[in-house]
Amino acid sequence: MALLDYFRQRKTTGSAAIAKERLQILVAHDRRGGGPSYLPQLKNDLLKVIRKYVAVDNDAVSVNLERDGAQEILELNIVLPD
């Protein structure tokens, strides 16, 4: 029975599970595509505007486009310093 358990254990901890998890994330990301080409420029412009009022880091603004069926969600996340 110990031998059997050994194989069972390997099955659940094998690298195939990691492969599947990585692929699911990657494929979902690939399918979304990079979004419209203006997204990086939009992010830069937003940074410039915010910097007129507060000093923020380059990574303070994140722009993310999600597609859900026919619906598109543009998500803006701005982290202001304390």
Binding site: L3, F7, R10, K11, T12, T13, G14, S15, A16, A17, A19, K20, R22, L23, Q24, L26, V27, D30, R31
Partner: protein, 269 residues
């Protein structure tokens, strides 16, 4: 009217040419007039897998450029009178393929043949896009391995947008998944993506599962499509795949580990 099938994958080395050769031979064996075209201009290999490399005189690019007619360039298979091979050029590059040129050759072939199998090169460049542009059906060849699955997913996206059917607003290309180099032993040990995992991610109709088998290398060594190795699991799996393509409903085989004796089991681990 001929049906055009592209065998594609994105990633190289997953078994496109092996599949094209086996599939075309399988269709010919069922009595259909079939031609298989090598779209890998510059790196032709289908002739080698089909075992007719010494009979190449003219090629696909010669026909497109009008230096030869299609009848002169096609090689008649010596094993099956229904099967013809149109080799790729070894010296030109893929830019020699144009939509007009390829379209003209396919139109001419469509008068004579029932099935036209297009063996796509790897990648998403000109050769691959030309091979898929005119397709009615696509066989997406995938290994149960991360990079192959990812590339197949990319190809599925490209198939649905960059084809004549998509551009003309016709019904889309019928896409089928063919999993090759599948090893039930390694899946059982948790080392390889299971069939269900690959299907989960790609969500395509499964047309076949070809087990990882030494007979595939033996067949390519000898220049014989592996479907003709009727004893081998890979040959039988390809034969099943052809039947499914033609509309038969067959259960998938070779998905589980063959039961071994006690000693086999002890020494395998």
């Amino acid at each position: 009217m001929a049906r055009i099938i592209v065998v594609t994958s994105g990633k190289g080395g997953v078994g496109k040419t092996t599949t094209s050769a086996a599939f075309a031979m399988g269709l010919a064996e069922r009595g259909f007039k079939t031609v298989v075209i090598d779209f890998d201009v510059g790196l032709r290999n289908l002739d080698l897998i089909m075992g007719c490399e010494r009979r190449v005189v003219y090629d696909f690019v010669n026909v497109i450029s009008g230096e030869a007619n299609v009848g002169q360039a096609m090689i008649k298979d010596k094993r099956n009178p229904n099967l013809f091979i149109l080799p790729a050029s070894q010296t030109r590059d893929k830019e020699a393929l144009s939509i007009d040129g390829v379209g003209r050759v396919l139109d001419e072939l469509a008068k004579e043949f029932e099935f036209i199998v297009c063996d796509s090169p790897a990648g998403i460049e000109k050769g691959a896009t030309m091979a898929m542009y005119f397709a009615d059906d696509a066989i997406v060849v995938t290994n149960p391995e991360v990079s192959s699955v990812r590339d197949s997913d990319r190809m599925i996206g490209i198939l649905s947008s960059k084809s004549r059917r998509a551009e003309q607003g016709l019904e889309g290309i019928r896409e089928f998944l063919l999993v090759t180099r599948y090893s039930p032993e390694r899946v059982q040990r948790g080392e390889m993506l299971a069939l269900e995992d690959v299907q989960d991610i790609l969500s395509l109709d499964l047309i076949g599962v070809i087990p990882d088998s030494p007979s595939v290398l033996n067949a390519s060594n000898a220049g014989v499509p592996v479907i003709l190795d009727r004893e081998s699991s890979a040959g039988q799996a390809y034969s099943d795949m052809v039947s499914r393509y033609l509309g038969e409903d067959l259960p998938h085989r070779f998905l589980t580990v063959e039961k071994k004796g006690l000693f086999g089991r002890l020494f395998r681990g």
